[in-house]
């Protein structure tokens, strides 16, 4: 009987439990029964019991007592028992446990079993949990399977070899020749495995990488066959021939062409062909296009090809699929430093993405937009960014505000524009402005002396409309607005629960009218906030002692 039926009965029993407690009870009873069965010398239901154990293991219950049973099942001549035994080993064992040593011999024998499905079980398990010793021991066998077996085994042996190389780096040398010859195979599963193996070998060893540059013509040939050949029903996925294999080969090409002019030149035409011939209306096509773009940007490609790649990313930004938009943004962000001009061409689309529904696309669009601000586009960009700021999600406000401040500081066409921008940010998102930026702003406003009254005027208006962290700064040259008006407003600021203590401090800094100051300041002498209290007391003392120096101090 296959393992499924008694397993299903147990699952039904577990699911009929109405509470967590009841479920635990059912499972404990089942596990006790399973444990008892394991202890029996020979029982017909062995594979059911292990399958049941794996199920409860998935739900989070302890299953370590099944480890030895896995070892026994793997050694069984029955395929059904081997199958679940190997699955159990992969789920419950790892090389740190003693039981895993005991399966080495079974794996060794099963690798040369007459039944390819038994061989495949052994290969799978070795690739999942083979220890370094096991790998060293069995590497020659894997190499043999890479060369002389059917496609089904070859593709599994290739991935097994990858695992071996990860565990024992030196063995890369052993597999390089076989990996190379696998590129001549027709079976796509084998080709895919071969490319994965070659990628692993090249990433581990620069000398191997150098040697594999010689197979570039073969790789180009394979790609051309996939991209340009006619319809192949066997490999077709929505009009693209084996997109997974194409993506994998493109990844290998990227590794071979990185930092190498010769290799990059050799693949230039191919990459251009893939970029232009791949149908971008289907998702599978986009996976291939995206990989092509990444490869072009990472090798020493011609500038024309780079522009083509960036244009593909620009097109991706207009795609309906949000995943495509997201990865395009991510890639553009990575290259905005190196390919700034090419990315600038897509500024409009990027700015439009500030309105995207997806929060992560918005975030990327914000970072990119800030990176794209320049002296020539600062006015129009800032309009968009300020618009964005007024409606952007809360978690992005602080970042947006400081980004805008930085950009404004670098590229402000005039001081007045600069101050306007700052005030706009403060009124829109004052509460989210990071505290450390405020002193800088005050400094800026202070320095723009000819605009003081303009600034004060605007601040006053701002205060009337929105009391938050509007920094109340330089009040020293009040001309058009009466001092009392401003002080009224300031008093409201101080008393308002919405302003942070920082605002209050700043307000205190700049009072110039003695009597009003004194009365306000003395109130704050007993304020709960320690800093305010301290300031208030200090100022009071100052005002009393050095009346004539008050103006200077207030600055």
């Amino acid at each position: 009987m296959s393992p499924s039926v008694p397993l299903q009965e147990m699952i039904r029993a577990i699911r009929s439990a109405r509470t967590q407690c009841e479920e635990r009870g059912v499972i404990q009873r089942e596990c006790a029964a399973i444990r008892a069965q394991f202890r029996q010398a020979d029982n017909g239901g062995r594979s059911h019991n292990l399958a049941k154990l794996l199920y409860v293991h998935m739900l989070g219950y302890p299953a370590h007592f099944g480890q030895m049973e896995c070892v026994r099942m793997i050694a069984s001549p029955r395929y059904s028992e081997k199958r679940v035994g190997y699955l159990g080993a992969m789920m419950l064992l790892d090389e740190k446990q003693d039981a895993s040593l005991l399966i080495t011999n079974s794996i060794k024998n099963d690798l040369s079993h007459s039944n390819q499905y038994v061989q495949s079980l052994a290969l799978c398990t070795l690739a999942c949990m083979g220890s370094a010793e096991m790998c060293r021991d069995l590497a020659p066998e894997i190499d043999r399977l890479l060369r002389a077996s059917n496609s089904y085994i070859k593709k599994k042996a290739a991935l097994c070899a990858v695992h071996i190389v990860r565990k024992v780096h030196d063995l890369g040398e052993l597999f390089a020749p076989a990996a190379r010859s696998l590129l001549a195979e027709k079976n796509h599963g084998v080709l895919h495995g071969a490319v994965v193996l070659i990628i692993e070998l090249c990433e581990r060893n620069p000398e191997t990488l150098e040697r594999f540059r010689k197979v570039l013509p073969d790789l180009v040939q394979i790609m051309k066959g996939l991209v340009l050949s006619g319809y192949s029903p066997e490999h077709d996925v929505a009009g693209i021939s084996d997109p997974f294999l194409q993506v994998r080969i493109l990844r290998l090409l990227r590794i071979l062409g990185h930092n190498n002019e010769g290799a990059s030149d050799a693949m230039n035409d191919l990459l251009a062909q893939v970029a232009t011939n791949t149908d971008s209306t289907k998702t599978v096509g986009n996976a291939v296009l995206y990989e092509t773009v990444l490869t072009v940007l990472d090798i020493k490609s011609e500038s024309g090809l780079r522009v083509l790649a960036v244009n593909i990313l620009g097109r991706f930004l207009l795609n309906n699929d949000r995943n495509i938009r997201y990865i395009a943004m991510t890639s553009l962000q990575k290259i905005v430093g190196t390919d700034h001009n090419a990315v600038q061409r897509h500024r409009g689309t990027i700015v439009d993405c500030l309105k995207d529904q997806d929060a992560s696309v918005k975030r990327r669009a914000l970072e990119l937009s800030l990176a794209l601000v320049s002296a020539s586009n600062v006015r129009s960009m800032m309009k968009e960014l300020l618009l964005f700021l007024s409606s952007c999600p809360a978690e992005l406000k602080a970042h947006a505000a400081s980004g805008i401040f930085n950009a404004a500081e670098r590229y402000a066409p005039s001081q007045r524009w600069h101050i306007d921008t700052i005030l706009h940010v403060l009124t829109t998102a004052g509460g989210d402005v990071r505290d450390e930026t405020v002193p800088n702003l005050i400094q800026l406003i202070t320095n723009a002396s000819e605009l003081h009254c303009y600034t004060v005027h605007k601040l006053y208006r701002a205060l009337l409309t929105d009391i938050s962290q509007v920094s109340v700064s330089n009040q020293s040259e009040i001309r058009f607005v009466t001092e009392d008006d401003v002080l009224d407003a300031l008093e409201t600021v101080l008393q308002s629960h919405m302003s942070g203590p920082l605002t209050a401090c700043l307000s205190l800094h700049h009072f110039t009218t003695a009597s009003r100051i004194r009365s306000i300041v003395s109130i704050y002498g007993s304020c709960i906030d320690v800093e305010l209290q301290q300031r208030a007391v200090e100022y009071n003392a100052l005002f009393k002692k050095y009346d004539h120096m008050r103006y200077a101090t207030a600055r």
């Binding site: 296959s2 699911r15 399958a51 699955l87 799978c124 949990m129 084996d242 996976a287 949000r322």
Partner: protein, 174 residues
């Protein structure tokens, strides 16, 4: 490399868990809970990529997931895998399940957990993509299932023969 493949339902109940790197059992459950927590609060109109949780690995790891009706299929992968490629792979896996189970639903995954593992083994091996051709995967799975069935059928036959009362012609049966 694929570090883990997790399938759980809308309430976080695991339907299939496969780790390609060793984690202790309680750690596995913690990872499942954390992953469910991260994935379940995502809107349906945001992208299918998430930075991985802190438990399952460093900054090089991402969660790539698809949400089908009552089930989340989550692949935790590193940067060596193409994000769009993995999304397509999840689709291939689900379509394969659909073919093997004939209009697969959550109950199929619950009651045939072992079979789902065997199917997955033909798609991903040792954390690496093995086969992406759906017909190839389905064909191999069917051969192995038939092998298992015929093996147990053979055993039942042998058992029956062994238990039949001896008859004058029994020596002919051999």
């Amino acid at each position: 490399m694929i570090k883990a493949i997790l399938i759980f339902n809308n309430h976080g109940k695991p339907r299939l868990i496969r780790f390609y790197q060793y984690f202790a059992e309680d750690m596995q459950q913690q990872i499942i809970r954390e992953t469910f927590h991260l994935v379940s609060k995502r809107d349906d109109n945001v992208c299918n990529f998430l930075e991985g949780g802190s438990l399952i690995g460093g900054s090089d790891y991402k969660l790539i997931y698809r949400h089908y009706a009552t089930l989340y299929f989550v692949f935790c992968v590193d940067s060596s895998e193409s994000e769009l490629g993995i999304l397509d792979l999840i689709q291939v896996f689900v379509e394969t399940l659909d073919k093997c189970f004939e209009n697969v639903c959550e109950l199929d995954l619950i009651f045939h957990m072992d079979k789902v593992h065997y199917i997955l083994q033909e798609v991903v091996m040792g954390g690496m993509v093995l086969e992406t051709n759906m017909n190839e995967i389905v064909a191999q799975v069917e051969v192995q299932n038939r092998m298992e069935k015929s093996e147990s059928h053979m055993e039942r036959m042998l058992l029956r023969r062994h238990l039949e009362p001896l008859s004058p012609h029994s020596h002919e049966l051999g």
